[in-house]
């Protein structure tokens, strides 16, 4: 057969092979890349960096620990060691011999032990067989039984053998041990010396970045064994994250990068310094129990190290800034129970910077974050420049709160509370939202108060109070009258007359706005009552009036100034709201009252506010006619004439028509509207328009207005605003499309709109109409939210609250204030906040806004922080109902107002205070009558301590005690005869013992100072006993004691002494007090108000329409 001729290949083989080689190599390389990318994760770089930091620290500590002294000791020990070894070497033969025998015995023991254990194993197996045979009634039961017994014997035998062997082996061991005794002992000592270093070294091995084992443990493909770099997570089974289809437990992996979040010692310098000062103060006041003092000082040293470190620790490696409050294991929110995302939000399981939902505080921050050191490369961030290659995560429903809004996280658990301990900022923010009345226009479900009053005064009687002219100017621009007012500005805002509005439209808008204001005023005055208030019954003296206003406590709720001295520049400038504590905005600013109202109204109002408006929040200060007249004349002297100079443009008929028609054609045809309008006078049109305008702007949400009873508030509901998705917010023309992010705020500052929800809300409250910029909308469609002229900080506060209102629901177990006691306390706090008690009193260490206005701290209203422990419920109840029942410090000028609490309210307050003080409602011991001898001893101690120098014990009529000579009121203290009926039995003694710890800065001197070392009490009388000046008392006391020693002992015992004093005071106390009468002086005239139903009238639609 002939050979087949070769068929040529289509491609040259060499070329194919070459390609094959190359592509395969390429494949290999790419596979490498794949593995590498899978291995190199961002968080690993963070952990490496953190390890590096730790390594540095440990090395530093090692350097200090491993000092000359220790090396010397070690050297000495080594010497001894060598000596010991020589010792052994000298009796070498015996030693070796002993060693040999030991080894033999070890061998035997091993064998014997094994035999025993095996035999035992057999026995157990056999036992089963026997049992099985027994139950199954098998024939071989007997044989099995026999074998079992045999085995049992065998096991016992072997056990005996084993015991023998063990004994002999131990003997051998002991013999060898004798030789080595010294050496081993030395080794022990060495260990104790080097213990610290060994520990550090152990830690070092774990964190050493470049150490061999770690490199292997963390090597790619091998890191499944036990890598030092691994993801840390907390699983929170009762805190759920809403995945829309289901809610799954949170798994917070934040620690993976935030390594030191719960580890003290990695604070920022500033933070460290803050903590240092706190801690030092605690130590000074020795408020730490001696047992924990050592550890505290340890901590101080640590903090000092951090504060003085040359390099500040940067995030993500910082300790949580409030470890005592969050994350710390001793804190109320330990990491293992609360994790991170439940407060901060963000993606719990994410381990990438952007994915985790970090949100920048500002544009600058965002830009910095976005930069990346190496493109296409995961990790190795630039720590110094804070470049993380950040990408915003558009799909995350719950991005983190930017840092300035962190407190928003508190709301969902604490919103029900009035005072969140340690949450001053969020407390203030929540209170601010109520004071400024956000809740009035915006429905907020499950807010802490269900019965909040409308923030504005009732306008039913506006005509009695002021004039249309004033009202017009006021509505037009309230801030022009009072820079600190809470009333927002509705008109002439940026979307109506702002620079962005084209001139023609602006002119038209102004016409419309004028018309609307006119119409509102017309409506209000048309609907207003006109009760003739009688003129002041006495001639007033403005000077005296001013004194009264300043002294009797009006200033707790009212500000009487509209300029302040700037702290920084020292120049006098127009006052801003946040120049004053929130409490002082409770009542309106008194400046310009004269311009605003008339003397008759003021007189009757200050005398009895409820006469004008049964819901008026203002309490009665029980003014006499003369006082009322004085105050009236003072208030009337507060004039702002220039305000009334501002021109009022007459309403533009055309504009009124158009607007009115605009509303009418909603319900009728254009033609009908025309005809109808033709029939209406301008006034009628205005009134019609006024009603609609009030509806449009929602005036009725904040003010009671006739004809608008029971209408729904107009604002967007905010119940879950915080979890609304970003695309539901209308950014107007702010954003990337138009490349505009900045705008100039009314007050001239430049503001910035980030494309995030927090930023949207912030700018919304800061400048509510800003999102209308450059938009062309019909007049009535323009944004209507009024402008409160919030300062940036105020705006941040409000934003914080709004962000906190989320749809997340937290497990009951994790909610705050759940126990009945806490609830009771909260109920009390609610009233305290609603009645603005903090205007004058300190409650829970906060408040007393009035303090700055009363020169002498001795004339301040009392600190109510310990009220619960201090006073008895019945007394407190009575006193709240009618403060005149007992004047404890009659020389005080500040008056406790009559709030006209209902019984139930008073009861709530009393319970609240008791709960705050961890006290039972009623103090049974007050009825206990002290033994006579205690009283006598108490009496003597009483004048030994010279209590009578300030306290009188003469029983007096509680309701009106003699007004003492106020000239030396300095040295006055409450009359002790009130104590028995007012104070709690146990508290009284404790108070005498340590007044300063109950109320810091109290006038009551500390008679039993604490011993700095032990923290125990010292008694001044201990030594006094011997001094001649007390000879008489000593003589008097001795009969009551076994001997002088006993006497001295008692006199040195603060507890005993204070109890004696208490018993004495109890013995002089009075037993009855006047009952709370009907508090209110009869109002000056029979009031039409009385006939009217005080319950809100139902909305009657038809009355509103015709």
């Amino acid at each position: 057969m002939k050979p087949q001729e070769p068929i040529p290949h289509n491609y040259p083989m060499r070329k194919l092979n070459l390609i094959f080689a190359l592509t395969s190599l390429g494949l290999l390389a790419t596979t490498g890349v794949m593995v590498f990318y899978d291995y190199v994760r961002g968080w690993k770089w963070f952990q490496l960096e953190f390890n590096r930091i730790q390594e540095e620290r440990i090395n530093a500590q090692l350097a200090t620990a491993n000092d000359a002294e220790m090396r010397r000791q070690l050297a000495a020990l080594d010497k001894e060691m060598r000596a010991g070894q020589l010792e052994v070497a000298r009796q070498r033969d015996e030693y070796l011999e002993a060693q040999k025998t030991l080894e033999q015995w070890e061998g035997r023991h091993y064998a014997a032990d094994q035999d025993y254990r095996f035999a035992k194993a057999l026995l157990d197996a056999k036992r089963y067989e026997v049992e099985a045979a027994l139950v199954q009634h098998r024939g071989d039961l007997k044989s099995k039984q026999r074998e079992f017994d045999e085995l049992t014997n065998r096991v016992n035998r072997l056990n005996l053998v084993l015991q023998q062997v063990v004994r002999d082996r131990d003997a051998a061991r002991a013999r060898v041990g004798k030789f080595l005794a010294r050496i081993t002992e030395i080794e022990e000592r060495k260990k104790t010396i080097t213990a610290e270093i060994d520990l550090l070294n152990k830690q070092l091995t774990r964190v050493a970045v470049a150490s061999g084992p770690n490199l292997i443990l963390n090597a790619p493909m091998l890191d499944f064994i036990n890598p030092t770099l691994k993801i840390d997570q907390v699983v929170l089974n009762d805190l759920f994250i809403d995945m829309n289809y289901m809610s799954v437990p949170r798994v917070d992996r934040c620690q993976t990068c935030h390594r030191a979040i719960d580890r003290p010692g990695f604070e920022s310098k500033r933070e460290a310094e803050r903590l240092l000062t706190d801690l030092r103060q605690k130590l000074d006041k020795n408020l730490v129990q001696p047992s924990r003092r050592a550890e505290m000082e340890e901590r101080v040293a640590q903090l000092e190290r951090t504060a003085n470190a040359k390099q500040d620790i940067l995030n993500p490696f910082r300790t949580h800034p409030k470890l005592e409050m969050f994350v710390g294991s001793a804190s109320p929110h330990p990491l293992l129970d609360y994790g991170c995302t439940v407060c901060h939000r963000g993606q719990d399981r994410a381990t990438e910077f952007g994915r985790a939902g970090h949100t920048p505080m500002s544009k600058r921050m965002e830009l910095r974050w976005k930069k990346v050191k190496f493109p296409l490369f995961p990790g190795n961030w630039d720590y110094a420049q804070r470049n993380w290659g950040y990408q915003v995560n558009p799909f995350l429903d719950t991005p983190m709160y930017p840092r300035q809004y962190s407190e928003a996280g508190c709301v969902k658990c604490h919103a029900g509370q009035v005072d969140v301990e340690g949450g001053e900022r969020i407390n203030k923010a929540l209170h601010m939202v109520e004071m400024y009345g956000c809740h009035a226009c915006h429905k907020i479900n499950n807010w802490r108060f269900t019965d909040l009053q409308k923030p504005g005064p009732a306008l039913d009687g506006i005509a009695e109070k002021t004039t249309p002219e004033w009202t017009y100017r006021w509505i037009a621009m309230p801030q022009r009258f009072r820079s600190t007012t809470r009333m927002p500005a509705f008109f002439y805002q940026r979307n109506m007359v702002g620079p962005a509005v084209p001139a023609a439209e602006r002119a038209q808008n102004i016409k419309y706005q004028d018309a609307e204001i006119h119409s509102i005023v017309t409506y209000l005055f048309a609907k207003s009552t006109r009760r003739p208030w009688p003129a002041p019954s006495a001639a007033g003296n403005p000077v005296r009036g001013k004194e009264l206003v300043d002294s009797i406590g009006c200033t707790g709720c009212h500000i009487a100034q509209d300029t302040v001295k700037d702290e920084k520049s020292g120049a006098v400038r127009v006052a801003r709201r946040d120049d004053f504590p929130l409490e002082r905005h409770f009542g309106f600013n008194l400046t310009g009252t004269g311009t605003k109202t008339n003397p008759n109204w003021v007189f009757n109002w200050v005398k009895n506010p409820k006469a004008y408006d049964p819901y008026a929040p203002m309490p009665s200060l029980r003014l006499s006619d003369q006082e009322a007249a004085d105050i009236t004349s003072y208030l009337m002297s507060l004039q702002k004439p220039q305000f009334l100079q501002q021109p009022i443009r007459p309403p533009d008929r055309q504009a009124v028509r158009e607007l009115a028609k605009g509303y009418m054609i909603g319900t009728m045809t254009d033609a009908d509207a025309e005809t109808r309008l033709a029939t209406m006078s301008l006034n009628a049109q205005l009134e019609f328009l006024g009603q609609r305008s009030i509806e449009k702007y929602g005036c009725y949400s904040c003010h009671d207005i006739r004809g608008f009873e029971g209408l729904k508030p107009i604002g967007t509901e905010l119940t879950t605003e915080g979890s609304k998705n970003m695309h539901l917010f209308d950014f107007g023309f702010f954003g990337d499309a138009t490349h505009t992010h900045d705008y100039r705020h009314e007050d001239g500052t430049k503001e910035h709109v980030l494309h995030t929800v927090p930023s949207w809300i912030y700018n919304k409250v800061r400048s509510p109409r800003v999102y209308d910029d450059r938009r062309t909308k019909p007049y009535n469609d323009k944004l209507k939210m009024p402008n409160f002229y919030l300062s940036p900080e105020e705006a941040r506060m409000v934003t914080t609250v709004v962000l906190g209102l989320t749809k997340e629901r937290v497990a009951e177990a994790k909610m705050a204030a759940r126990t009945p006691q806490q609830r009771a306390a909260e109920e009390g706090r609610k009233l305290i906040s609603q009645r603005n008690c903090r205007g004058c009193h300190v409650v829970n260490r906060q408040g007393r806004a009035i303090a700055s206005l009363i020169a002498d701290p001795n004339f301040l209203p009392p600190d109510l922080t310990p009220q619960g422990e201090r006073t008895q419920s019945p007394w407190l109840f009575n006193f709240l109902k009618d403060p005149t029942v007992m004047k404890i410090r009659p020389w005080m000028q500040v008056r406790m107002p009559t709030f006209m609490f209902s019984d139930q309210e008073a009861a709530l307050l009393v319970q609240g205070f008791a709960a705050e003080g961890n006290e039972p409602q009623f103090d049974t011991q007050r009825f206990h009558t002290p033994p006579q001898q205690n009283v006598v001893i108490g009496r003597i101690v009483y004048d030994m301590l010279r209590c009578q120098q300030c306290h009188s014990v003469a029983p007096v009529d509680p309701s009106n005690p003699p007004i003492p000579n106020v000239a030396d009121a300095q040295s006055l203290a409450p009359n002790l005869s009130f104590s028995k009926i007012r104070l709690r039995h146990d508290w009284t003694a404790d108070w005498i013992r340590r007044p300063d710890e109950h109320i810091p800065g109290t006038r009551m001197p500390t008679n039993f100072p604490r011993d700095a070392a032990t923290g125990g009490f010292q008694s001044p009388l201990a030594l006094a006993m011997d001094s001649p000046q007390f000879a008489a008392q000593k003589a008097a006391l001795l009969p009551y004691f076994k001997d002088e020693a006993a006497l001295k002992k008692t006199m040195g015992d603060a507890v005993a002494l204070t109890n004696y004093l208490r018993d004495y005071i109890w013995s002089v106390g009075i037993d009855r007090m006047r009952n709370a009468g009907t508090p209110e002086a009869p109002s000056p005239m029979p009031l039409p108000q009385q006939q009217q139903p005080v319950a809100p009238r139902p909305a009657t639609l038809e009355t509103r329409l015709q």
Binding site: N10, L27, T30, N244, Y245, F395, H727
Partner: protein, 407 residues
């Protein structure tokens, strides 16, 4: 620069670009495959169309743009004629395309869309489609020329040579495999797979887009009732593809590329595949933005952009607009005009069988002819519906809520 961008933006409006593309398709068929001339009848017809566009452009600006672009391209294609398939020309077209794409990437808006990881394959697809279609047509063209010259197609010439499976086939396949794997890995590492958070039913992404291979369907939904676009048409597409071998009995072109010998087969398929399917996918990917409204390639995807909803049904058009009378209550009467039109459309098949398509009918026989014809009509219904939409804002021809039948 901005002018060019605007030009492209306008040109890529769904209607304009669709017309433009279809036109180009036909022009290529005519001028470059069938050696048509500008002078002859069809050529003049083409020109006239362009001129009409220009004139209409006086009132409707986009049409002006269209006209200009159209005439330029026409002139170019006509000038090139067969030389379009010349390797050098092909290379240049590719280069120009790539450069154009590259330059467009400099535009932030274009970049943000084109560089989106999920869109990269589509961008690649544009070029691949172009290249391979070009190659195929090139071969077809040369074969046709050869046949015209009385020769035989290139494939025939080499078809009697022999090669070993190994190495010539398997080895090369292996190499391709490896190469492909490398590309895949690099790709998937290079642009990280775009994984997203857990879906939130209350907030669907805007625009909500189907996977790229279904974007054609999604685009159809704009013009058809979901039931048709989502169920009937896709089914028919698949059935149709399966049916092709049984319908197409043309023995010519087996084993070699050719256009002249199978104008209809190739033409119809290419039109369906390129213009009615791939083009829609590309549109859906790059030109459909938030609210599924239309954005030019250089336009910013502004979610606030609104498109007026003024589409009306034929019934409204007929009764209300033309006869100025209320819609009849009875749906049969109300929808009569639409139904009649649809029936007429369906009637086209037999009609054509008697008329112009007589020879197909004879050649294929009744069964084959009708199946093919109806598939063809259904396919054609898409562009027709589109054009109707663009011309009259027509929503549905037949709109019977009573029985959920919308056509």
């Amino acid at each position: 620069m901005t002018f060019i961008k605007n030009f492209v933006n306008v040109l890529s409006i769904a209607s304009i670009s669709f017309i433009f593309l279809s036109a180009v398709f036909f022009m290529v068929c005519y001028f470059n495959l069938m050696n048509g001339r500008l002078k002859d009848k069809t050529g003049i017809a083409f020109t006239v169309f362009g001129v009409i566009c220009l004139i209409a452009g006086i009132w409707v600006t986009p049409l002006l743009y269209l006209g200009v672009a159209y005439l330029l391209v026409m002139w170019g294609l006509a000038k090139l004629g067969g030389r379009l398939w010349d390797g050098k020309v092909g290379k240049w077209m590719l280069i120009v395309g790539v450069i154009g794409f590259g330059l467009s990437l400099l535009d932030p808006n274009f970049y943000s869309i084109a560089a989106k990881p999920d869109n990269v394959p589509i961008a690649a697809m544009i070029f691949l489609l172009g290249i391979f279609t070009w190659i195929a047509l090139k071969k077809a063209y040369y074969n046709d020329q050869a046949i015209l010259a009385g020769g035989i197609p290139y494939e025939k010439t080499e078809s009697d040579e022999k090669l070993f499976t190994w190495p010539d086939l398997v080895y090369t396949e292996l190499l391709c495999m490896i190469g492909l794997t490398v590309v895949m890995i690099v790709w998937s590492v290079g642009l990280r797979a775009p994984l997203e958070e857990a879906a939130n039913p209350t907030t669907s992404p805007n625009p909500a887009k189907a996977p790229w291979y279904f974007l054609g369907l999604q685009e159809m939904l704009v013009y058809f009732d979901p039931w048709l676009a989502g169920v009937v048409l896709p089914t028919l597409i698949i059935v149709g593809l399966m049916a092709i071998p049984y319908i197409d009995t043309n023995p010519k072109g087996n084993g070699y590329y050719s256009f002249r010998e199978r104008k209809w087969e190739v033409g119809v398929f290419l039109y369906g595949f390129l213009v009615l399917w791939s083009f829609l996918i590309i549109t859906g990917t790059f030109l459909r933005g938030p609210n599924w409204s239309f954005y030019g390639p250089y336009e910013y995807w502004d979610p606030n952009k609104l498109e007026p909803l003024v589409n009306i049904d034929l019934s409204e058009l007929f009764w209300v607009k033309m006869l100025a009378m209320p819609l009849p209550k009875l749906w049969l009467i109300r929808e009569a005009p639409g139904l009649i039109l649809v029936l007429l459309y369906l009637g086209l098949a037999p009609a054509l069988a008697k008329g112009p398509f007589r020879r197909f009918y004879l050649k294929m026989g009744a069964a084959r002819y009708y199946v093919g014809a109806y598939l063809f009509l259904t396919m054609l219904s898409l562009p027709i519906k589109m054009v109707l939409r663009w011309l009259f804002n027509l929503k549905y021809l037949v709109h019977i809520q009573e029985i959920f039948l919308n056509i």
